[in-house]
């Protein structure tokens, strides 16, 4: 089950969606967010990038942050306008140090699964920041119309 809140009455432009920590439920906010970015005129290349980054953030939250514990929650907050989209994805895990994740493109790590998602988020979004000791990731993409 997902829960939605809109904070527009309090002046907060971010919408909030909270979902159970499974890969299936993690798709719920994605569908909603992509409808909004298309409404605001983001090009298909940007839609691809946002979808990719969001999937990587949600996958990391489910698998690494919440340790595949479906009783835990993932909280997605997002704000989109004609200029940009901002998204935060928060999990209930112990956090991590992103600087300790090795480069997945080095020759000796190409066939290993770890780190590729973080690298893709950084490659496809305009800004990626880890907050709350790695339990929250902030993603931003500008709308280049």
């Amino acid at each position: 089950m997902s829960q939605r809140d809109s904070d527009s009455k309090s002046g907060d432009r971010f919408r909030t969606v909270r979902v159970n920590s499974t890969l299936h439920e993690a798709k719920v906010p994605e569908s909603e967010i992509l409808v909004h970015v298309r409404k605001h005129g983001f090009c298909e290349e940007a839609v691809f990038a946002i979808k990719l980054a969001l999937e990587e953030a949600m996958t990391n939250a489910v698998k690494h942050g919440n340790g595949n514990d479906a009783t835990k929650k993932i909280t997605v907050r997002y704000a989109v306008d004609d200029e940009r989209i901002e998204i935060t994805v928060s999990d209930e895990g112990q956090g991590f140090a992103p600087e300790d994740v090795p480069d997945p493109t080095s020759n000796d790590r190409l066939t290993l699964p770890s780190g590729r998602g973080i690298m893709l988020m950084r490659a496809y979004m305009d800004d990626v920041e880890y907050r709350r000791n790695g339990r929250e990731v902030y993603l931003m993409k500008r709308n280049r119309r």
């Binding site: 993690a26 979808k51 990719l52 999937e55 996958t59 190409l110 699964p113 998602g117 893709l120």
Partner: protein, 116 residues
């Protein structure tokens, strides 16, 4: 890119190898199925496995990981895995992740089968 995600995996056996066509979107909730389908093919120990990406419009890192696992399984038995026909967005991901340097990327299935 489609607005709803679905993935189908089509397998065709040729004299020269096996062609697996991925159709749709390899998003995070569908990769378990992708992994199972590729595992089934790898268990036949093909000499050449071509993964046709012409009709794949999205893939996440989990999906790329499934292809890498298939690459490791095929090469372990002396076979080859090649990618064919990636759309520009997918090709860009292969470049960004440097996986295009690990697995040859061909412009057609015929070219991939001929490079066995």
């Amino acid at each position: 890119m489609s607005k709803t995600d679905a993935l189908s995996v089509e397998v065709v056996k040729h004299d020269d190898g096996v062609v697996v066509s991925l159709v749709g979107s390899a998003s995070m909730d569908l990769c378990e199925r992708l992994n199972a389908a590729l595992l089934d093919v790898c268990q036949t120990k093909p000499r050449v496995l071509v993964i046709d990406l012409a009709r794949l419009d999205f893939i996440c890192s989990l999906g790329l990981g499934c292809i890498v696992v298939a690459y490791l399984r095929v090469t372990k038995h002396g076979g080859k895995l090649m990618l064919a026909n990636p759309q520009p967005t997918i090709n860009d991901m292969l470049t960004t992740t440097k996986l295009g340097g690990l697995m040859p990327v061909c412009s057609s299935i015929e070219e991939a089968l001929a490079r066995r």
